[in-house]
């Protein structure tokens, strides 16, 4: 049956081919005649324009006509002042070029990207862990992660193995889930003593009065008494209110990082979220954040009104922070039902929380006593003895979590004689891996320890040889670890001071913090969740369910055998059902069916859905999508509506608009003192929100260039000089016609990412627009041309002169005439995207750089944003946008090509470009329509 069908098929193909051969020669003759008519006037013979002898080129049996095709398709050729071919003739010319184009053979398969891997596995396991940072980027110099030329490497597979372990362990921990807890604290640890001018005690909490936002990473206020015990999601609730009468909201930037004190080299902190406070009455403000052990939560308040304005009665009042976590969506976590179905779940441990309850937020809740801190030594039931102490500087001060309070040997009324030592008792014989030591900071350094020896003993009398000895830093305020060569469970540990710093020669010793290194982890109350089954049949069922979701396919037993096999063997080995399932899951997500796309699917429809999910959600189809019978177009529509398509919008911003280079450039604080963490956080979000809006709301493609709105919040509005926007949530804001914003080109994110942080470069910005918006590929400068990278220098007028050199050299000018002018129009915007009329030039500062609001610059020459492109002039960005908008077709065509490449992992060939051109409605081309058309075409080959 199959064979017959094949033969009939072959005959049909042969017949069609015969007809095709005939038609093709007809088309060729016709098209060549049209080229002769419209093009050879200029492009023939030795003296052909642009050294392009079309007559000669078109006569070759095979040639790459991409450039000719693009010029005809976008109406660049014939030039505006020549007779234009009617649409029908243009179509014929293009069709023939496409027809004779040598076939390109892109790879059929590609590896899924690291983003697709992490999102898919998260969705399969019901977790939400951003682990892409742990997988190397393998994009190389390709624009899109989906590029089919990128191949899997051993290193990549190795990191998928490793990340799979982390995700599986987080989802189904072998040692159980650490029980949820609540911490309430209003106690701050500041990172530097002098910073107490920024905060003051206020009512029951703290008022952040003198706000500053630059270099948020180099000084901070940490909440004491909260150390996340394990990596996980936590809910942080701040009871906060605005104090003072002014229009702005105060922003609370919540960071995570390791607490440090008076350290000039702190580890950078992660910005977790921003809370906007405009209310005068206390309100609970809740955010959900991911924290890791060793991180502390720090806050940082900012508003322009209070920016470095020392007013004690204005700012943000935070009464307390309440932290709750690690959070599970319900108990037991819902993923057990998702992964193990009806199999009975068994729980063991301290867990008392009721099924899915959420703690009520309560303003009246009492504030936790500030002495809630517990040292590791206290946690293991240990205690301390010291050789001597000074009144007010007792041994307990080493154990209170602060290095501003400290233990000191006695110096009054009499001086304690050495040896000075501390003995730590470990009554329950925990394994102690070492000690943590921190100096007493903020003092004159007296007594800080320079050399030490550590001894252990079971009776507290016989100490033997030291188990470790060494030097300690005296200036450093950070905790200094003293690891033991091997862990000890001796009952007594003696920390002996053998040399200490002294200003006056007296023998002294002081310690800010001393604690033991133990796996506190082992001490945490946990609840283990297991599946009460030993049956391999049950296990097979679980593996099948998971594999069918992961592979988006129905699977036979034969196909599943390897996965059953590896899991059942694990079950036989260890007898642990969940652990055995994890081995099977890992094999599934590291298999070729998962990592190489497209996969193998039972039906065409499932294959289509898997592709859609990969493109729009960077994931695998969920149950709803797998079972849906919605027609393709409607399906695309609801998938775009779904929140998961935000991942695609983010990818497009990162890859197409190159926002992934965001952190590569930081604007100079000398020139742009206003640039701060908050702005850095929100600028890319504006672009993402805008692009998502254009697609979801089916806005015209021209909105890529210009519109009268964008998505702003208070901080972005301040940056753009838009008034009356309060609060930090992004919302749609309309602009009056004199505002140059709206559209991608004038977005701060784009303007920033196209500079090196100091100077703007019209060439770089021009190249960005050419490549990403107008679709004119930029080729590198020809050899033997001395490249110039113009610099504003002291006199900005020279910048133009430098760039205008391009005009005097034909080799340069051929390309730069359609690159530089875009950049000229954007000269009205500085490296942070702010409007400017005059250039800034940095002025020297004395000594090391000290931040100041007025920066270190002077204003120089006026900005000249005028230019000429394709024989049309403009005087500024408004003019350029108007010019660009006359070329709607080109913008839509370029976006279609970009999106096609994003979807398919290769550039469209000329036939595919013909199809893309056919999708573009000449007068009213809209984003969602175009995106849908490209998707439908890519999936089914259908052109609307």
């Amino acid at each position: 049956m199959r064979a017959t069908r094949l033969i009939i098929g072959l005959i049909a193909v042969a017949l069609i081919e015969n007809v095709e051969v005939h038609q093709r020669s007809l088309l060729a003759n016709e098209a060549k005649a049209l080229f002769a008519k419209h093009c050879f006037g200029c492009h023939e013979g030795q003296t052909a324009e642009g050294q392009l002898d079309l007559a000669k080129l078109l006569d070759q049996s095979e040639f790459d006509a991409t450039q000719v095709f693009e010029n005809v398709a976008t109406g660049k050729m014939p030039p505006a002042n020549a007779d234009q071919p009617p649409a029908e003739e243009q179509q014929k010319m293009l069709a023939w070029l496409a027809d004779q184009q040598p076939k390109s053979k892109p790879n059929v398969y590609r590896r899924i990207s690291r983003h697709e891997f992490v999102h898919s596995v998260n969705d399969l396991l019901g977790t939400k862990l951003d682990l892409t940072g742990q997988i190397p980027e393998d994009r190389g110099t390709r624009t899109f992660d989906s590029d089919r030329r990128i191949q899997l490497s051993r290193e990549m597979l190795g990191s998928y193995f490793a990340v799979a372990d982390v995700l599986l362990e987080h989802a189904l921990p072998d040692d159980g889930f650490v029980d949820e807890r609540t911490w309430v604290t209003n106690k701050l640890k500041d990172s530097h003593e002098t910073y107490n001018i920024y905060v003051r005690d206020f009512k029951e909490g703290v008022l952040f009065s003198w706000t500053r936002a630059n270099n948020g990473n180099s000084y901070s206020f940490f909440y004491d008494n909260f150390d996340p015990p394990v990596a996980g999601w936590y809910e942080l609730t701040f009871d906060a209110a605005k104090v003072g009468e002014f229009a702005e909201d105060v922003s609370i930037q919540v960071h995570a990082g390791k607490y440090y004190y008076a350290d000039d080299r702190p580890q950078p902190q992660r910005l977790l979220d921003v809370i906007s406070v405009g209310n005068h009455q206390l309100e609970p403000k809740t955010i959900r954040v991911f924290l890791r052990p060793g991180e502390n939560v720090s806050v940082h308040c900012y508003c322009r009104h209070n920016f470095r304005n020392r007013n004690p009665q204005q700012g943000a009042y935070i009464r307390q922070m309440k932290a709750r976590g690690p959070l599970q969506d319900q108990w037991p976590p819902s993923r057990y039902a998702m992964l193990f179905g009806e199999l009975p779940v068994e729980m063991k441990g301290h867990r008392t929380r009721e099924h899915g309850t959420v703690t009520k937020l309560n303003n009246a809740e009492s504030i936790a006593p500030s002495s809630g801190y517990q040292s590791n030594l206290q946690k293991i039931g240990g205690s301390l003895f010291v050789s001597s102490f000074q009144q007010g500087m007792e041994k307990a001060k080493m154990q209170d979590g602060s290095n501003r309070t400290f233990w000191h040997t006695r110096f009054e009324p009499t001086l304690a004689k050495p040896p000075h030592y501390v003995i730590l008792e470990n009554p329950y014989r925990h394994a102690i891996k070492g000690l943590f030591y921190a100096t007493w900071s903020g003092g004159n350094g007296n007594g800080q320890i320079e050399k030490y020896e550590v001894y252990s003993s079971d009776d507290g009398k016989h100490w033997g040889e030291p188990i470790v000895s060494g030097d300690l830093e005296t200036r450093l305020a950070n905790e200094q670890p003293i690891p033991f060569p091997t862990a000890t469970n001796s009952r007594f540990i003696k920390f002996l001071v053998t040399q200490s710093f002294s200003l006056d020669g007296r023998s002294l010793a002081s310690i800010g913090k001393l604690d033991v290194m133990v796996s506190v982890d082992e001490l945490l109350p946990r609840t283990t969740v297991s599946i009460k089954s030993k049956h391999s049949e049950n296990l097979k069922h679980v593996i099948r369910r998971f594999a069918e979701r992961a592979f988006s396919s129905n699977l036979t037993d034969a196909e599943l055998e390897p996965y059953f096999d590896v899991a059942t063997r694990a079950l036989q080995r260890d007898g642990n059902f969940v652990q055995a399932a994890k081995v099977g899951f890992k094999a599934v997500i590291c298999s070729h069916r998962f990592l190489i796309a497209p996969g193998e699917h039972t039906t065409e429809l499932l294959a289509q859905k898997a592709t859609l999910a990969r493109i729009l959600w960077l994931s695998v189809p969920d149950d709803k999508l797998r079972e849906s019978r919605t027609p393709l177009r409607a399906q695309i529509a609801w998938m775009i509506e779904d929140q998961r398509s935000d991942r695609m919008f983010e990818s497009l911003c990162n890859q197409w608009l190159n926002l992934r280079s965001w952190n590569n450039v930081s604007p100079s604080l000398k020139l742009y003192p206003q640039y701060d963490d908050l702005l850095d956080h929100y600028l890319p979000l504006e672009t993402r929100a805008y692009l998502a809006h254009l697609i979801r709301e089916n806005e015209p493609v021209s909105s890529l260039i210009d519109s009268d709105y964008s998505f702003l919040n208070q901080r972005l509005a301040q940056h753009y000089g838009v008034e009356h926007i309060t609060g930090q949530h992004l919302r749609k804001v309309s602009f009056s016609p004199d505002v140059p914003r709206g559209g991608l080109l004038t977005m701060g994110s784009v303007l920033k990412v196209t500079t090196d942080g100091v100077d703007t470069s019209p060439i770089l910005r021009g190249a960005w627009i050419s490549k990403n918006i107008m679709g004119t590929p930029v080729s590198p400068p020809p050899e033997s041309v001395k490249a110039i990278e113009p610099e504003h220098g002291t006199d900005a007028a020279t910048l133009r002169e430098q760039i205008e050199q391009h005009k005097s050299n034909d080799a340069c000018y051929a390309c730069h005439k359609s690159i530089d002018p875009y950049g000229f129009a954007l000269e009205s915007f500085d490296s942070t995207g702010q409007w400017r009329d005059r250039y800034r030039v940095a002025t020297p500062h004395r000594g090391t750089f000290q931040f100041r609001l007025s920066g270190y610059y002077r204003l120089t020459s006026d900005v000249d944003a005028s230019g000429e492109i394709h024989e049309q002039t403009f005087s500024d960005i408004f003019g350029l946008k108007k010019l660009l908008l006359t070329d709607n077709l080109k913008i839509a065509y370029n976006f279609a090509k970009i999106f096609f490449e994003y979807v398919n992992g290769h550039e469209p060939d000329l036939k595919q470009r013909m199809a893309l051109l056919a999708m573009i409605a000449p007068n009213d081309c809209r984003m969602k329509d175009l995106v849908t058309d490209v998707l439908v075409y890519s999936l089914s080959g259908d052109v609307k």
């Binding site: 393998d138 030329r149 193995f161 372990d165 699977l555 094999a587 090196d756 050899e783 490249a787 990278e789």
Partner: protein
């Protein structure tokens, strides 16, 4: 593991303690031989030629950059080497620095295996790490490309590198981890076998997994290698990496070179590549702040060359310190530098023009009879030097990349 070569260690494996006795007896009577190492450093934006190459042939003191090098008698500067097929190569030429594959900017460019990987196949088996790819910048590719032309992502976080080389591991957990991975690998191979024998689902296509199969096999070997090395303790070294927030760029280079030195010294690896590129953003070195890339497009302007040469001199300073330190470490009658070939070069001859002629190239160490400065009469393909290095390290191939003949640029 003094007195025992890695090869011996490999041979005896877990029985090493028993074998040690006889070995130590033998070690006393036999002169110790030292492993040979090799390192490739690619300064991706090149060096400004008039400052780099000596003005007087053969006299390094007439080079503004090189006159202060302290190991002048243990290195050779080559003038007139080039890579063919880089006419419009842009920054992509870095991809071909160690491969010599032409036209790296072409849309369908597929790279070939890089020199360091050829060497690692020969020299890498006996050390904990077959090779170590380093970079100062996080972008996922550098100078190392595997035999299918796929980029090997270099390591750019020095703390991570330090921990990889010398950090403590939970051996039990690691062992369990490797066993678990090996089970998974077995499963994946099982699955692929089914695909080959046509048992798999209809429409399954064996060709789709060609590259995947290779990768799985490679990972399997890697796991075996790691499992083996769990039996040997990592060298115990204090972390002496520098943290300098003011000169982050310099500190990064310094740290990576320090780690390379330690890795060689402890025989943790014998092949290292180090790619130095920093396209985005301004950097600060003593005496200059600016975009390295921006400045490299100097167009012969003095106000650009000033700060650019500060950056390049800073790099040379660190490289010099690296070579000097290698030379200060005694190994038998010679020094670590004598047993290590250090190649310092660039994919750009002139970054200002993006041209790849006359690539600045230094070969240091390796006990060659060094010439200080060799000017080739006619332009010669860099791959000839690469081929010679392969031969010098016992890799028996007839050609490499674009090599067109065998040379004797480095005599021993």
């Amino acid at each position: 593991m003094s007195g025992t070569t890695r090869r011996e260690f490999l041979k005896f494996g877990a029985a090493l303690p028993l074998a040690m006795h006889s070995l130590s007896l033998r070690a006393a009577t036999k002169p110790k031989s030292f492993p040979r190492r090799i390192m490739f450093i690619c300064n991706s934006l090149g060096f400004y030629k008039p400052y780099f190459f000596p003005k007087t042939r053969g006299d390094l003191s007439t080079s503004q950059y090189l006159r202060d090098l302290t190991t002048k008698d243990k290195l050779t500067v080559f003038e007139n080497l080039y890579h063919p097929g880089m006419e419009t190569s842009n920054h992509d030429s870095e991809k071909s620095f160690l491969t010599g594959a032409p036209r790296p900017e072409a849309p369908n460019f597929v790279n070939s295996i890089s020199l360091d990987q050829m060497l690692a196949q020969e020299m890498g088996g006996e050390t904990r790490f077959q090779f170590l790819p380093l970079s100062i910048y996080n972008r996922g590719w550098g100078c190392s490309w595997n035999n299918r032309g796929v980029a090997i992502p270099p390591l750019h976080d020095e703390t991570l590198v330090f921990n990889k080389l010398f950090g403590d591991e939970d051996l039990t957990a690691k062992r369990r981890q490797i066993e678990n991975d090996q089970h998974v690998i077995e499963c994946l191979k099982h699955d692929m076998r089914k695909l080959e024998y046509g048992v798999a689902s209809e429409g399954a296509d064996a060709s789709r997994i060609e590259s995947y199969r290779t990768v799985v096999t490679e990972l399997e070997k890697q796991l075996e290698h790691e499992a083996f090395w769990l039996n040997a303790k990592k060298p115990d070294l204090p972390n002496t990496l520098s943290k300098d927030p003011e000169y982050a760029f310099s500190a990064k280079i310094k740290n990576m070179l320090e780690l390379s030195k330690l890795a060689f010294q402890t025989d943790s690896t014998r092949v290292i590549t180090f790619s130095m590129d920093w396209i985005y953003g301004a950097i600060k070195v003593p005496g200059a702040t600016g975009g390295w890339h921006t400045l490299s497009h100097h167009g012969e302007k003095q106000d650009k060359l000033g700060p650019l040469s500060r950056i390049e001199m800073d790099i040379i300073k660190h490289l010099n310190q690296f070579l000097t330190e290698l030379d200060a470490i005694k190994e038998g009658d010679g020094t670590l530098l004598d047993h290590t070939t250090v190649v310092i070069g660039s994919n750009f001859g002139d970054a200002s023009n993006h041209t790849c002629n006359n690539l600045p190239t230094i070969v240091a160490g390796g006990s060659y009879r060094h010439q200080a400065h060799t000017v080739l009469e006619k332009p010669m393909r860099l791959c000839n030097l690469w081929l010679e290095l392969l031969h010098k390290h016992n890799v028996d191939v007839g050609a490499f990349g674009s090599s067109d003949r065998e040379t004797r640029l480095l005599s021993t």
